[in-house]
Amino acid sequence: MKAIELSRALGWELVCGDGEREIAGGVYCCDLLSIVMGRAPADCLWVTVMGNVNAAAVATLCDAACVVVAERMPVDDETLAGAKKGDVTVFKSEKPVFETALAAAKLLGLA
């Protein structure tokens, strides 16, 4: 399923990007960027509360299909600029990390 389809079904707000990438790497949750960097699968949907500019860089470099910033955490302009530059799609979810990830996993047939 494409990220944008999932986001529509789950009511996430599109913050930047087009969400056209296929989520082929499952759902991954973590906030510590070094761990994300080493362990997040390519093409995953990454759920985090870390909406800072470094998160945009990590998403780009580890090749996540999209980032979902949970808990309505702020995504600042710097982060947006970084995400745009790295061609990363960012969504915002109202819900906590677990609920966000669980809902996504269900729709993807993973839970």
Binding site: D31, L32, L33, S34, I35, M37, G38, A42, M50, N52, V53, N54, A55, A57, V58, T60, L61, C62, D63, E78, K85, G86
Partner: protein
């Protein structure tokens, strides 16, 4: 392949966390445009990013030189920071001297060097306390 002898140089400022990762992102873009295997691109991007972050958070910045030839990508990261006292210890999962401020940004999990080892084909660390550190990351094509 007609891409031998490509060389790129980057300055990594030491005081700007928001810029951290700029060089790695630029390199990733180049590798992608060269049409290299996505796995190779990803491996180099991850290893280089960890090295770049380390230069920013531990060493006050430095320079990165990337060479691409027919067989491999080599990134040399040079800094004049404090050096690493015990490399064996530093290589261990979770070992870190990062400050609280750095941890607050999501770094300092002590996973950087282990990640660099995992994602590169060869990792070489030359370091001298009080002089600086040179890290060489090689990823084979």
């Amino acid at each position: 392949m007609n891409q031998s002898g490509l060389h790129y140089h980057y300055d990594v400022p030491g005081d700007d966390f928001s810029q951290a990762g700029a060089a790695s992102s630029a390199v990733k873009q180049i590798l992608k445009q060269l049409g290299l295997d996505p796995q190779v691109v990803r491996n180099m991007s991850i290893a280089l990013y960890e090295g770049e972050i380390n230069m920013v958070i531990h060493a006050g910045g430095g320079v990165i030189d990337v060479d691409i030839d027919d067989e491999k990508i080599t990134a040399v990261l040079t800094d004049h920071g404090p050096g690493i006292e015990n490399v064996e210890l530093a290589m261990q999962d979770g070992w870190s001297t990062a400050t609280e401020q750095v941890r607050g940004l999501g770094f300092g999990a002590g996973m950087g060097l282990p990640n660099m080892k995992k994602y590169s084909d060869d990792l070489k660390i030359d370091t001298e306390v009080g002089v600086g550190t040179t890290v060489t990351i090689t990823v084979n094509l």
